[in-house]
């Protein structure tokens, strides 16, 4: 009763271990099969070394030898950190139809600005630029949890994520 993982890809590549030259060839083939399985499982691309039969793919779920309850707990942790989304509405002044944007898919303000510029095809000014804004520029604002409209970019990104409710792109000359 167990009553109760995989190393990084670099160490999976068995062909780099000199000690393995002395083992029997069938054993090496078996281990190469597993290393292919592990690569497939890790989502890394691999040339069709051994072909990917469903049998090999099935083998993948049998290593490391941990029980199903632990495996599902660990997998869930991975999924959680990968698939969580946070969609907010984005309106541009003058356009009645808004867009939606996943803030979690961005890792900072630069990334957010790039996406917005692409979505709305306009120049968005950051608060720290000292250049005089051209007439047609816009600024990005957000509504926070207290209902106030604030300029985006003043607080750290992580803190911003916890207070933002929606975004609005307004004309620069209004600020």
């Amino acid at each position: 009763m167990g009553d109760q993982s995989n190393s990084p890809s670099s160490s999976i590549d068995s062909s780099s271990h000199p000690a393995l030259c002395s083992t029997s060839s069938s054993f090496q083939t078996r281990r190469d099969l597993l290393s292919t399985d592990l690569k497939l499982g890790l989502g890394l691309s691999t040339s069709a070394l051994h072909g990917s039969s469903s049998k090999q793919r099935e083998q993948l779920s049998h290593w490391p030898p941990i029980k199903p309850l632990l495996r599902s707990t660990l997998e869930e942790k991975v999924h959680r950190s990968h698939s969580k989304t946070f969609f907010v509405k984005v309106y541009m002044e003058g356009l009645p139809i808004g867009r939606k944007l996943d803030l979690f898919s961005h890792n900072g303000y630069d990334s957010l600005m790039r996406t917005l510029r692409r979505m709305f095809r306009t120049t968005i000014i950051c608060p720290d630029t000292s250049r005089v804004p051209p007439e047609k520029a816009h600024v990005l604002t957000y509504e926070d949890k207290e209902g106030d409209w604030m300029m985006v970019g003043d607080v750290p990104w992580e803190l911003f994520l916890t207070t933002v409710k929606r975004l609005k792109i307004t004309r620069a000359d209004k600020c």
């Binding site: 009763m1 009553d3 271990h17 309850l69 660990l74």
Partner: protein, 575 residues
């Protein structure tokens, strides 16, 4: 002894606590056989297919505690196809007919249907304890039947089962008159339960000492429960998701302070590191701590917690504790007997884990250590030799190096010498699991020195048939041998066929054994069942009559008095 009245002989047999001893005395003479069988109260069946249920009940009509095990151990890792077998119903039916006085039933790795739970619930008026470990096939409807009909139930212990959720009302089926529960464990249930019914149930069961909740139980509910159960000895918390500023958290801390008898803690599924502080007051009394389902807690928080746990005897953690964390365990937990370190990073994202350093630290600090399960990224011979010297009392030693067949990173040598040191030093070793790069030499050592070894697990090891033969010829107490992905073939399988009648079972998968070899074994040994388990996918592609040279993907061999079983699915051939 034949001059003594039977009652005296029976009384003497009462002092024999182990099944093995009672089995032995029953073979001395007919008189002793008779006395023993009529006075036997506890029966253990290690392989449900080794003997027919009816025969067991006929021989031991006074059975009060029955333990039965089903699928082979590798079923835990999905190596045994889903409907291979291991059904509980025939056992419950036979017990209902032959031993209506049954009080306790323990099943492990068996398929338990709702129908069989309903039969169980209605057939035994004195039924007191149901323990299901790693079972499947039932739903909360079956649990409802148990709750409804088992008056006087003391223990319902569900460990790591796959239970289908048919709603939360099962817990409400415990009648208001039920006050006898001493142990309730439903941690493996995925669905919600009726929190109000649970709180009322634990409040009226004044003898409740062990309570393990499932993930659906909120912290608010946990706090209310703990207030009603201050005498709890074992607790499995629910999800433990709480904002540390919340009132519920404060109430929880307060409730924990009242639980002065708590010695064992588990659960903690979604606990935030900051909330671990709530249990600091209990830690100095803890002997058992299981944090293996809490991947959110990183090393530093674990360490802060462990520093309070100086009476700890059993610790299960994830490898996020790191080598440094294990060093803290070594300096704090001087009473430690069992350690399990599980892998947290099964997708190779490269986060911190443990290495041989952690294990060496533990072995230097925890001299009472006798049971180990250790998943790590690497191991060295030098480390294993040191561990063997520091801890000669290992009874269970299971090492899993995550990269199969990995050599000693310092010397690039196989780990033969390291494991050899373990078996030489640990004379009481009963269970061993090997990993890393290993040649036939390690098996030579095992065969020679592991005299008390009962269970051996081999994966990706060995060079030739000689390896397996060393083990079969050497380990005279071997009961279970399980091998996967190793180059052992027919010659090894057929070298010592008599050995298998002295063992419970042999499992071999992805080895070099052929169908012809299996047939030869079956022909030579009629009292063994030789099962060839065909992979679903392959059997679609396979021809009607595969040749004898065809390699067998999975083979399970076990001694039996019952002959070939009649419930085998079509993908299992019993030769």
């Amino acid at each position: 002894m034949t001059y003594f009245p039977e009652e005296v002989v029976e009384h003497i047999f009462d002092f024999l606590s182990s099944h093995r001893d009672r089995n032995i005395v029953s073979t001395v003479c007919k008189a002793w056989y008779r006395v023993e069988r009529l006075s036997r109260r506890s029966v253990f069946v290690g392989n449900c297919y080794a003997v027919r249920p009816g025969r067991v009940m006929a021989r031991f009509p006074g059975t009060k505690c029955l333990s039965v095990k089903g699928k082979p151990h590798f079923a835990d890792f999905n190596l045994v196809p889903h409907d291979w077998g291991g059904f509980a119903l025939p056992w419950i039916e036979a017990a209902a007919r032959g031993c209506p006085g049954l009080e306790e039933l323990r099943l492990k790795r068996m398929v338990v249907s709702d129908e069989s739970l309903e039969l169980l619930a209605r057939s035994f008026p004195n039924f007191k304890a149901l323990v299901l470990v790693s079972c499947e096939g039932f739903s909360t409807d079956g649990l409802a039947a148990i709750a409804t009909h088992c008056r006087g139930l003391r223990e319902l212990d569900l460990q790591e089962n796959e239970v289908e959720d048919h709603g939360r009302q099962w817990l409400s089926c415990f009648p208001d008159s039920c006050t006898s529960l001493e142990s309730l464990n439903f941690a493996c249930l995925k669905g919600e339960v009726n929190a109000g019914a649970l709180e009322r149930l634990v409040a009226r069961c004044v003898n409740l000492r062990s309570l393990k909740l499932n993930r659906a139980i909120s912290v608010e509910s946990l706090a209310r429960i703990l207030v009603r159960t201050p005498h709890l000895v074992e607790l499995g918390t629910g999800s433990f998701t709480v904002e540390h500023r919340a009132e519920a958290y404060q109430r929880l801390i307060h409730a924990f302070r009242k639980c002065k008898s708590l010695k064992s803690l588990s659960g903690f599924w979604d606990v935030a590191p900051r909330c671990l502080q709530s249990i600091y007051s209990i830690c100095p009394n803890l002997t058992v701590l299981n944090l293996s389902y809490a991947p959110a807690i990183q090393g530093a928080d674990l360490v802060k917690l462990i520093r309070h746990c100086f009476k700890l005897q059993k610790l299960w953690v994830l490898d996020c504790i790191g080598d440094k964390g294990l060093a803290v365990v070594a300096s704090t937990c001087k009473e430690l007997q069992e350690l399990r370190v599980f892998p947290s990073d099964i997708y190779g994202t490269g986060t911190a884990a443990v290495t041989e350093e952690g294990l060496v630290a533990i072995s230097s600090g925890c001299s009472k250590l006798n049971s180990l399960l250790y998943f790590c990224h690497q191991m060295t011979n030098a480390a294993l030799i040191t561990v063997a010297k520091n801890c000669p009392h290992f009874t269970r030693f299971r090492l899993c190096i995550l990269d199969p067949g990995k050599p000693d990173p310092d010397t690039n040598q196989p780990l033969d010498e390291g494991f050899g040191a373990i078996v030489r030093s640990c004379n009481d070793l009963r269970r061993l699991s090997l990993s890393g790069l290993l040649t036939d030499t390690v098996f030579l050592y095992i065969g020679e020195y592991a005299a008390r070894l009962e269970m051996l697990s081999i994966a990706f090891a060995g060079d030739s048939d000689k390896g397996m033969v060393y083990v079969l010829n050497g380990c005279k107490n071997l009961r279970k041998l399980e091998i996967r992905d190793s180059p052992f073939g027919d010659a090894a399988l057929l070298e010592n066929v008599g050995k298998y009648e002295t063992m419970r079972s042999l499992w071999m998968s992805s080895c070099d054994v052929t169908l012809g070899g299996c047939k030869a074994l079956a022909a030579k040994m009629p009292r063994l069942n030789v099962e060839v388990i065909n992979d679903r996918v392959e059997s679609d592609e396979m021809e009607e009559n595969p040749s004898d040279m065809h390699k067998v993907e999975k083979m399970y061999v076990y001694r039996t008095l019952a002959g070939a079983r009649n419930d085998a699915p079509e993908f299992v051939d019993i030769l």
